[in-house]
Amino acid sequence: MVGELEFERPITELRKKISEIKEFTKTTDVDLSSEIAKLEDRLEKLENDIYANIKPWDRVQIARLPNRPTTLDYISYLFEGFFECHGDRTFADDEAIVGGIARFKGLPVTVIGHQRGKDTKENIRRNFGMPHPEGYRKALRLMKQADKFNRPIICFIDTKGAYPGKAAEERGQSEAIARNLLEMAGLRVPVICIVIGEGGSGGALALGVGNRIYMLENSTYSVISPEGAAAILWKDAAFAKNAAETMKITAPDLKELGVIDGIIPEIKGGAHKDVKKQAEEIEKLLTTSLQQLLELSKEELVADRYNRFRTIGEYSIMNDYIGVN
């Protein structure tokens, strides 16, 4: 089965058994309906049990599923008349980021997001959703356009990270990301960011300076991949599972740390099981969130975003330190 994950195996096995028995009853006269009912009861319990105790590493696996819905999938369900705009006006069109104008329940908006491919061919074209500087510059161009025409901005975050390549460094990957952080801070329209898959470090943050930041329940947001952290910490990428727990990269962890504003519940097993239903969940939250932000004036929106990030971080004050002098 496509997208079957290790931790889900007991569920799929039981489900298979049930369908086998059902097949069997069709061909014979034996009545097994009470047994089937019992098994289905057990299946439901098992599902509830497994999905309620989902581990960080399992979430990483779900977030990385090739068939996990992408930015364009959600756009088609959430917005009317999406019109994609291409290019950064300077160098190229980076297909690892898509963006354009659309309507959300009639309200004109600008939508931007990282875009993975659905298959190898598309992934090569979209560089596996890992942008080059021109991708971030395209995003910024569209944000400035939204600012000019007073359109709220909705960003979907879904990337392993900014692409680590020679050309990317030559064209200023650092500067492109940094510029977005700075300029997003000054946008005078509501900015809502939603992490829908992997939120990989600076490459994710470059679309992430919003008034509100939400995460899908099984998405991740981190400063370094679990594999990368494990390689540094335990000198072995095989410890990624441990790192996924230690690094606090899941939606519930980040809500607790105050990094995000809310969690969008996923349907049982993950967003890929039913994109339409998942889009409905996102729509609910987008609606209330936009309603709140549209109440604010331009200055209030900028101040709101400033305060949103200004308060992040934990530290203490030590009194007996003498300083460099």
Partner: protein
């Protein structure tokens, strides 16, 4: 002692073969009077090197400077007043061994965190200054580094004076997870506000400036400068080599490489730094016959 031990032939300490000095031994001159340049391998008096602001007298190689040396070399004598020096990291993720590592670096570097901030003057021009120090956790940015830099930017805003930073950092601090990542955004929103108020911000990148620091405030100066030979990068060289599977040019991700690719205003030698920065600070003050 047995009689046979008197004969050198049986002496256990005698080396059987001539030893060839290892690569590290060749470069390693005992600390103290003399210092060997890791670039041109020439040996010079440490005193003379220090007097030359830790720039090699022969080839111009820039040795790393810590925050104290930087203050001494850049700020008018006696004008530096440190701020927020008593801020200290916590362990928000309960990361294994993090607090121990911090304590070790505190003792080693005699610093409380990886950045020193304060108010001072350069040839009489008042500024707010932040100096990152690579001797503390590789200059990595966690909550405290982000907060101190943000407070320094806000201080410059409050005093209406320029903000100057010397960056030196391995990037975001892994042990504070997403909180470190968010410091990139925090410092950037503060810089935006400072910029909107017309504040002058000068970023001077020193060796090394990488990852989350290069991808936030380090790249956002009204003027972006670097010291000669400094490594400035977003992604690590090895990561890139693995992802593209080709050899990278030797000067890849150096200050010179960045200048060539349009990412820097200039590379400034430490020897000329005070003079050049003074000039920039003064040009941003109203004056002259045609003042308007």
């Amino acid at each position: 002692m047995a009689l046979k031990d008197l004969f050198t032939k049986n002496h256990p300490k005698k080396k059987k073969y001539a030893t060839i000095p290892t690569e590290t031994a060749k470069n390693d001159v005992p600390e103290g009077i003399m210092t060997k340049c890791p670039s041109c391998k020439k040996i010079m008096y440490t005193k003379e090197l220090t007097k030359n602001l830790k720039v090699c007298l022969h080839c111009g190689f820039h040795f790393q400077m810590n925050s104290r040396e930087r203050i001494d070399s850049f700020i008018d004598e006696g004008s530096f007043e440190e701020i927020n020096e008593n801020m200290m990291s916590k362990n928000p993720l309960n990361f294994p061994d993090y607090l121990e590592k911090l304590e070790k670096d505190r003792l080693k570097s005699n610093l409380n965190e990886a950045v020193v901030t304060g108010i001072g003057s350069v040839n009489g021009n008042k500024i707010v200054l932040a100096i990152m120090d690579a001797s503390f956790r590789m200059g990595s940015m966690g909550s405290v580094v982000g907060e101190k830099i943000t407070l320094a930017i806000e201080k410059a805003d409050e005093l209406s004076v320029p903000f100057i930073i010397f960056t030196a950092s391995g990037g975001a601090r892994m042990q504070e997870g997403a909180l470190s990542l968010m410091q990139m955004a925090k410092t950037s929103v503060a810089l935006k506000r400072f910029s909107e108020h017309g504040g002058l911000y000068i970023s001077i990148m020193t060796h090394p400036t990488t990852g989350g620091v290069s991808a936030s405030f380090a790249s956002l100066g009204d003027f972006n400068f670097a010291e000669p030979g400094a490594l400035i990068a977003f992604a690590g060289r090895r990561v890139i080599e693995q992802s593209i599977r080709e050899e990278l040019p030797e000067d890849f991700q150096t200050a010179e490489f960045l200048l060539k690719h349009g990412q820097l205003d200039a590379i400034i030698s430490r020897v000329d730094l005070v003079e050049k920065i003074t000039n920039i600070l003064e040009i941003h003050q109203p004056g002259g016959e045609l003042a308007w």
